[in-house]
Symmetry: C2
Subunit: 168 residues, 2 copies
Amino acid sequence: MPITMHSASVPMFVRMLTNLSKFIEKAEAHAAAKKFDPAVYLVARLAPDMLPFTRQVQIACDTAKFCIARLGGVDAPKHDDNEASLGDLKARIAKTIAFVQSVPAEQISGTEEKDINVPRRDGVLVMKGEAYLKHYATPNFYFHVTTAYALLRHNGVELGKSDFLAGL
Amino acid sequence: MPITMHSASVPMFVRMLTNLSKFIEKAEAHAAAKKFDPAVYLVARLAPDMLPFTRQVQIACDTAKFCIARLGGVDAPKHDDNEASLGDLKARIAKTIAFVQSVPAEQISGTEEKDINVPRRDGVLVMKGEAYLKHYATPNFYFHVTTAYALLRHNGVELGKSDFLAGL
């Protein structure tokens, strides 16, 4: 089967969001073992002017959600950024996985040349579907998943590359 | 044009390796402005049992190099892991970009079902070409590029998302 816009997007998002949820489970287990409040992870940052853990997870989710909504031509479900616990973040990830899996593959495949509009602070960025997937959504998604991983790793959670690549 | 194994791999690697080289230039400029030895970045780590900056860059390069060599059915050039400065790391990145661009697109396209063997400490991992690209090489590549970025950001270099997504 030739690679398609669907096969290059949804399985990647589902795999990595599933793994991200497992990173959070390991953080919960670590906090329980060390007897500290797991909520301390929510506000962890790698630099004072970088976004905290909660935002890293929310943006990873939204990057996947909006990518599939825009490519597939469907409305993205609204997810309020109101998560207040690691459990809430896992629920946000689960909702995101369910959404990206709900869009029929045939609506995503064939969108290589589709015009995609990405609203940004400084105006609307217009890209073709394939460029949007590979040069915008994919790097942005991995940026936030990896930063979430790095934040937990930096703060003592026992994670390794096998967690990051889990599912092989 | 439909997405292909070539269009989904080489342009992504070239874009992000180019950006990684620019992160390093910003680190050099930051060290010069603050009058410290830029070599301190080489050994920076986010956790004592995570790999240092030099290894993050080397592995990002090798992930791209081996991905294109394996998909394209060509021998990967040997790059010794002997970089001792930020300048050396930029040269390693440049060599990697030149290699991945040197493999003809038609040798990479159509490799979705090709058996790819990845030697690992615990044996050989065998995957089909598309799964290897999207579930192994791509996440591994972004893991190391993002961790390199995070290390510089954590250590004061002024980088932002526009550097990470540069080239749009």
